[in-house]
């Protein structure tokens, strides 16, 4: 397992993957957005604003996907003490929070023309808001300690407790809003979607996944480099200290 913990090996692997991931991101997003903006039809009901969907829906998928990825990385970190898993979790949560935020913003921009309000306390919307807060908690805890190791472990425990709770939260919120508000406004049945809209959606989704991969690899790499710089720094301080003591003694 610790085979990949070797930063050198990881860096080599990352360097090999990164160009493909980066180019893939640009291509997929370029094609996806082109199709979404110029090729896909407007909706007869919703007009041109329907195009927000091509950002909104894949973002929502990513926000949920990344939390699970963090939980998996956290389990690996806690069970096998794998240092790269910690770094992966740390690299992921701002990206996840970003996608959750994007979902909220695009949804609310869409909601304005559709429902006449920026926000509805609908089940799906609300659980995305809670997910966003879970991300913020994870990030805050990661950075709350002087000693980064402590931050990693605390955040990993939080992510695992969170992932057990997410289904409970999602279920309860859905139940709550259907209880109070039988007919939710936001229903656009998935299966009935036309292929000309489905394809751009899927391509953008792939683009987002590749973007995530690129960012995570880059951030792990830079963390490793920063750690190495810190080690060098401390070593110089320590050496000076030892020398100083020798002189005084």
């Amino acid at each position: 397992m610790h085979r990949f913990a070797n930063p050198a090996r990881f860096t080599r692997l990352a360097d090999r993957i990164l160009p493909f991931a980066a180019v893939g991101t640009v291509v997929a997003l370029g094609v996806g957005f082109y199709l979404a903006l110029f090729v896909a039809p407007g909706d007869y009901q919703q007009g041109e604003s329907v195009r927000i969907m091509y950002v909104h829906v894949p973002s929502a998928w990513m926000a949920m996907f990344i939390y699970v990825a963090i939980a998996v990385a956290s389990a690996v970190a806690l069970i096998w003490r794998h240092p790269l898993a910690d770094l992966a979790a740390k690299a992921s949560s701002p990206v996840g929070a970003g996608f959750a935020f994007l979902t909220l913003v695009t949804g609310s921009l869409w909601g304005r023309p559709m429902w006449g309000t920026w926000w509805e306390w609908d089940g799906r919307l609300t659980s995305m808001l809670i997910l966003f807060f879970l991300y913020l908690g994870h990030m805050a805890l990661l950075n709350a300690f002087e000693d980064s190791q402590r931050g990693y472990r605390a955040a990993a425990i939080l992510a695992l407790v969170g992932v057990v709770n997410i289904p409970i939260i999602k279920f309860s919120v859905d139940w709550w809003s259907t209880l109070h508000q039988p007919a939710s406004v936001m229903r656009l049945d998935g299966p009935t979607i036309h292929p000309s809209m489905l394809w751009p959606l899927l391509i953008v989704a792939v683009g987002f996944k590749l973007y995530y991969l690129t960012v995570v690899l880059l951030r792990i790499k830079s963390e490793l480099i920063a750690a190495r710089l810190r080690a060098l720094d401390l070593a110089t301080v320590k050496a000076a200290e030892v020398q100083g003591q020798a002189v005084q003694g």
Partner: protein, 221 residues
């Protein structure tokens, strides 16, 4: 088991000696709830309409406020180190501390809830279910909160972090708790809500000792 009883007894004794912690949480509960009529105006119908929601949200905040202290005093004066090195398994120690916390925080809140129900002109036919739901829900609040409190020990501003970690996880207890009371007030059955509250409690009874102990172990370094 003997160790667990000892720990609970000590924590209760500490709480009672410390100028009645118990009634401080209750007073916060009542005082904060009493602010809402100033905020939303005194109309009885409106107050009655929002009563279960306010009672639950404020109960949740009262528990939240008392959480920071759950492990902090023991952490700062070195008792936690000693506890870790004692023969009592840390998982049990966590459960013991949560139990003592609930007895001194959750239970008094339940005792004070009828007062708030009256203040808010709530229809008293729902009172029984409200209390039952709180009996099932407040232990969950203590359990979830304990994990948050343990995780933030030694963090740069632990206390302020706890709400951020804990509040999102409180949502299910809040929803089912209010749901049960609302159902009873509408004359519907509260059973499914209560069962769900119980289920959430059971899940947390399993998770909290494990996650809490893991968090405490890494806080002591």
């Amino acid at each position: 088991m003997r160790g667990l009883a000892l720990l609970v007894a000590r924590d209760l004794r500490l709480a009672l000696r410390q100028s009645a912690d118990a009634w401080l949480a209750v007073l916060f509960f009542v005082l904060t709830a009493a602010l809402f009529p100033f905020g939303v105006g005194p109309e009885p119908n409106l107050l009655a309409r929002i009563a279960p929601g306010i009672i639950w949200v404020v109960a949740l905040l009262a528990v939240l406020l008392s959480l920071e202290r759950l492990f902090l005093a023991d952490f700062e004066d070195g008792s936690l180190e000693q506890l870790l090195l004692s023969p009592l398994p840390l998982e049990l120690a966590v459960l013991g501390k949560v139990l003592a916390h609930w007895l001194t925080t959750g239970l008094p809140l339940i005792a004070a809830a009828p007062l708030l129900a009256v203040l808010f002109h709530m229809d008293l036919s729902g009172l029984g279910v409200l209390l039952l739901a709180m009996l099932l829900g407040t232990p969950t609040l203590s359990l979830v909160g304990a994990v948050g409190a343990a995780l933030t020990l030694g963090a740069r501003r632990g206390g302020v972090l706890i709400p951020l970690l804990v509040l999102p996880l409180y949502v299910p207890a809040l929803i089912f708790g209010v749901g049960a009371t609302d159902a009873a007030l509408l004359g519907l059955t509260a059973r499914p809500h209560l069962l769900l509250l119980g289920a959430v409690l059971l899940v947390m009874l399993v998770i909290t000792p494990l996650a809490g102990a893991a968090a405490l172990r890494q806080a002591i370094e």
